[in-house]
């Protein structure tokens, strides 16, 4: 994932405030990262919400205990995801769960090959599998974006809202909504490229 220093500094400040006992900062932290982490985890528990809840709770408890040690060497969300992956393995082991996602699928070359076959035969089982995997790629990419960006992208491209409607929904001016949408598009593309090592356009050719 592309890391920018501005975001790292913002994350570091938030972590410092949370670690210092600032209640408002804790709530900001929870509101921003709980939904993203929950959705990130759901993609790895085959949609099992109970399991995701347990893993996310364990992860966030660890993170708030360690918050004072966060040094801003990686994005806060990247740090959360790393701890989350460890907790997933731990919870799976304790419950005797064998998950096909126990290895992060972004690290499996075979899945990339499946994705690349998406345009070969639209009616084939391989195509269907690839489409499912691609959908999960997109969800994981979205979970890495700031909540606000993921929300505007969903409003625009899935729910088909106009910019004016997005502005109303997000309680911002039309101008600000346009601006956030523009940033969100760029962030999604950059995030996709960074996570999966190829351009999103490539997948749909």
């Amino acid at each position: 994932m592309c890391v920018n220093t501005f975001q790292l500094k913002t994350d570091q400040k938030l972590a410092q405030r949370v670690a210092s006992g600032d209640v408002a900062a804790f709530d900001d932290f929870f509101r921003e990262y709980f939904p993203r982490l929950f959705r990130f985890t759901l993609t790895r528990t085959d949609g099992n919400a109970d399991l995701a809840e347990e893993v996310v709770q364990r992860t966030m408890c660890i993170v708030v205990r360690k918050m004072g040690s966060y040094r801003g060497e990686a994005l806060l969300f990247t740090w959360l995801c790393q701890i989350c992956r460890n907790e997933l393995v731990s919870v799976f082991r304790q419950r005797g769960v064998v998950s096909r996602n126990s290895v992060p699928f972004e690290d499996v070359p075979e899945i990339r090959a499946a994705i690349e076959s998406i345009s070969e035969d639209p009616g084939s089982p391989e195509h269907s599998h690839a489409a499912t995997e691609l959908a999960r790629f997109v969800r994981v990419t979205l979970s890495h974006l700031p909540l606000r960006y993921a929300s505007v992208l969903e409003l625009k491209y899935i729910r088909g809202c106009s910019v004016a409607e997005i502005a109303t929904e997000m309680k911002m001016s039309t101008k600000a909504a346009e601006s956030v949408l523009s940033r969100a598009r760029a962030a999604f593309k950059e995030g996709f490229r960074s996570l999966w090592d190829f351009e999103p356009d490539f997948l749909l050719k």
Binding site: N4, K9, R139, Y149, E154, R159, K175, E178, S179, D201
Partner: protein
């Protein structure tokens, strides 16, 4: 005037997101359960260090905090610095007026690694949260690579408002005309009635009568010399040669080209030391590369590096 946002990228994005489907709502019960547990854990951790100052139910936290701030007669909110002058290190805060004379401009580091450069003969009011009002003259903004950042730099003039979308750009307000020149990225321009976007290599002028003109502008060239002259000093120590060359490329607007991936890889791990204080970015290239095995050439638009 408004550019159509539906392009190939938009189509791809739309197809990908539709494939993923709508985000599943997270149950409020689940959220509240996790919140309670994590909050409890956090309070126990914080109590150990004596840090927690008060505990307020989640849903009420924001409003109660606001009420405390408003109702406490003895509360004096600290004046928050929005940046510092590069030369003197003095802070600037919301409400300041930056007024440069005919002899020199100012280079300002805004919070968050944003470079703001104020040309000679310029008057600029400082607002909060990255907002400025340009009363006269010219400014340049380099917001760097802030792709995930939600904040914008917003520049108001009497004619309209420019909002950055992660970019390098200048805003001038001269003779009642507002012009925005974009060197990299995109800037949204609005006068309250209409809005448009200026892209890389475009100069958009909003006339006092309300008309908008769009011209081409070179991203490298004399147009930007005043801003380059106010660039913050680059510290060679602790940076690789590649980072130095990227800085030069960004400051000059010239494309950086390596003759091979191997050359780029060597630049990525090479370091130079010493000071380039007082040198322009292109003078610095000459000084720095003279001490390395690299050969360079500059043709006005491109900096070419060979090993």
């Amino acid at each position: 005037m408004k550019k159509d946002m539906t392009d190939d990228n938009d189509t791809t994005l739309s197809a990908l997101l539709k494939l993923a489907g709508p985000t599943e709502e997270i149950s409020a019960d689940v959220e509240q359960r996790v919140y309670s547990k994590v909050r409890e854990e956090w309070e126990q951790t914080s109590k150990g260090s004596g840090a927690v100052r008060w505990a307020i139910p989640f849903a009420l936290a924001a409003s109660v905090l606001v009420a405390i701030a408003l109702n406490s007669p003895n509360t004096e909110l600290p004046v928050r610095s929005v940046g510092t002058y590069v030369q003197s290190g003095a802070s600037i805060v919301a409400g300041d007026l930056i007024d440069t004379d005919m002899d020199s401009g100012q280079s300002i580091a805004l919070n968050g690694d944003i470079s703001l450069r104020v040309d000679k003969n310029t008057r600029l009011e400082v607002g909060d949260e990255g907002e400025f009002t340009l009363l006269a003259g010219r400014i340049y903004v380099d917001t760097g690579d802030r792709i995930y950042q939600d904040r914008h730099v917003i520049v108001h003039t009497a004619n309209g408002t420019a909002t950055d979308i992660g970019t390098q750009f200048s805003v001038a307000f001269v003779n009642a005309d507002m012009s925005v020149a974009v060197r990299e990225g995109q800037v949204d321009l609005s006068d309250g009635q209409q809005s448009s976007s200026a892209m890389r290599g475009e100069k958009m002028t909003l006339r006092s009568g309300g008309s908008i003109e769009i011209d081409e502008v070179q991203v490298a060239g004399a147009e930007w010399d005043w801003a380059v002259a106010l660039a913050p000093q680059f510290e060679l120590d602790n940076h690789t040669l590649l980072e130095f060359l990227k800085w030069v490329s960004r400051e000059t607007g010239m494309e950086l080209v390596f003759d091979s991936d191997e050359t780029r890889a060597v630049a990525r791990v090479s370091k130079s030391h010493g000071s380039i204080q007082g040198l322009t970015p292109l003078e610095a290239v000459e000084a720095v590369l003279a001490t390395t095995q690299f050969i360079y050439s500059i043709d006005g638009k491109t900096i070419s590096i060979k090993n």
